[in-house]
């Protein structure tokens, strides 16, 4: 049928950050896109690779330093004290839990179930000495040109 042959809409997201607060938007957008039958991909690069690093993704943190947007803003001089990062992270986790928002682990699981394609950045793996088996299984670990090739006919591209 002609309707089925119609090209799916496509979203490609580049994830460059490894903090808890930054991890949510790409996972939310990609899973939502997949739910609308879009072709959705996320390319994890630089610190963004932590979001699919099995050793790290359950322990992503919120940075209290240079972060004036927290519900209870913390002056940088206080934010640098030991324990403040854990505190800021706990605050965010509690806030999300109260609002019934799934945690990162669950979100990644949902993304995979819905067919979101995860790509790792090969260059980041090499530079940071991370092994491919340290990652949640991806479609592939690829370089810049290969990702641009995937993204070249995307309808939406985002850098997070």
């Amino acid at each position: 049928m002609a309707e089925e042959e119609e090209k799916k809409k496509k979203i490609c997201i580049i994830m460059t950050k490894g903090t808890l607060d930054a991890a949510y938007p790409p996972l939310i957008l990609a899973s939502t896109a997949a739910s609308m039958d879009w072709d959705a991909s996320i390319f994890f690069t630089f610190y963004g690779l932590d979001v699919i690093n099995k050793k790290k993704y359950k322990n992503l943190k919120v940075a209290p330093i240079a972060n004036p947007a927290m519900p209870m803003p913390v002056p940088n001089i206080i934010g640098m004290l030991p324990g403040m990062t854990s505190m800021a992270t706990m605050m965010m986790k509690n806030m999300m839990k109260k609002a019934n928002v799934p945690d990162i682990e669950e979100f990644i699981k949902m993304c995979k179930e819905m067919g979101v394609k995860l790509y790792g950045c090969q260059m980041t793996l090499d530079v940071m000495g991370i092994k491919e088996e340290d990652l949640i299984p991806t479609e592939a670990c690829i370089g810049a040109a290969a990702f641009l090739d995937i993204a070249s006919d995307a309808d939406v591209t985002l850098l997070v």
């Binding site: 309707e3 809409k9 899973s31 939502t32 739910s35 799934p102 819905m114």
Partner: protein, 75 residues
Amino acid sequence: MEADEVLDTSGLVCPMPILKTKQSIKNLEPGTVLKVIATDKGSKGDIPAFVRQSKNELLGMEDDDGKYIFFIKKK
């Protein structure tokens, strides 16, 4: 309006009402009407967008004192 199935997403925030709607609709026969109840304010715009993008049909929408009710027909 009559519905064949009901999904209550009360208390859930974006994007969960959409993801739950997708999960429910996936298993329905074409032509089935799904009633979705949501309390997320964003769902007022999100559900119609989801329905449009996923090529289903929005039969109706009600705003019942903070509860948004949608009737979606699966294509």
